[in-house]
Amino acid sequence: MLTKKQLFTRGMLDISPHMLSVIPFGIICGAIGVDLGFNPYLVYAMSFIIFGGASQIVFLQLLSGGASSLIAVASVGIINSRHLLYGAVLSEYLEKLSFIKKLLISYFVVDQGFAESNKFFKKNRTEEYLHYHLIGTGCTLWVCWQIATLSGIILGSFVPEELGLKFTIPLTFIAIVVQDLKKLDHVIVMITCGLSSLLFFDAPFKSYIIVSPIIALFVASLLLRLKK
């Protein structure tokens, strides 16, 4: 049995390699907000209140392009709706927590943190304080995200654009799913999702980000039926 502290530390360690992409992305995100002419305090408020990288950038870009707040808010909701899927997966391991703890821990559910904690949960189902791993990944991501966006806001885009550091985002997610390429069913699901996301990329409200996972999960359910 690992202690709470050990699990928390393990979460921090498991997520730290992803800071290679989270930190540059956060700096870019903060700098874009200021570049587009928004109030720096509001740009930072997004990191605290929304706390969702890609959706923050879309929010800024839509508003600066003259979209209404309603459209911008709706787009954030649609982009972030993928968290419903993460929550459905994580609920298996968080079931026993009190309602208040569930409410608090939910704030820290982010893509990379979900991915790494879910991997850990699958291998260590019997641990009593499993959720401390998720708190470890979530807090690390949170702190780094706040510092990175703040530095972007204050210092501007001091990361040269030519470096193309936005490319670290797809790379970080490649690192997350790459081991599942060993399983044919997962490969089929991934390709379905990837191709759908390109096909529906221009769909309104950035809905490709939730439409393609739904298509891919439908294919997954068909595959499960075939397996039987």
Binding site: L63, N80, E92, F167
Partner: protein, 105 residues
């Protein structure tokens, strides 16, 4: 951009995170759905990966000889064999840089 719009977006985002963890009981999900949930990472992350590689900043498809495709392939190969996140990201990035700064320059 107003603080109110950010707060609305934040509340909406928080609900996407919290609903399935705190509001919906797991017993409501059938066994079939639970089995399909096993595929969530493979079904979600490619929707971030593919556009990040194949679509440029202006929303258009990239050329087939774009350095990002090469960088992504290197990352997949290095990641598959090394099982190491830092190695995967660095290998992809460095090979991408090699193409844009050395080869195509």
């Amino acid at each position: 951009m107003t603080l109110a719009s950010i707060i609305f977006a934040g509340i909406l985002t928080y609900f996407t995170r919290m609903t399935m963890i705190a509001l919906i009981s797991r017993d409501l999900l059938g066994d079939k759905i639970k089995a399909v949930l096993e595929y969530v990472p493979s079904a979600v992350f490619p929707a971030i990966i593919f556009p990040g590689i194949f679509i440029n900043d202006y929303g258009a498809f990239i050329e087939m000889n774009d350095p990002k495709i090469f960088g992504a392939l290197v990352a997949v190969i290095v990641g598959y064999f090394s099982k190491n996140i830092i190695a995967t990201i660095s290998a992809g990035l460095v090979s991408y840089w090699f193409l844009i700064f050395v080869v195509f320059n």
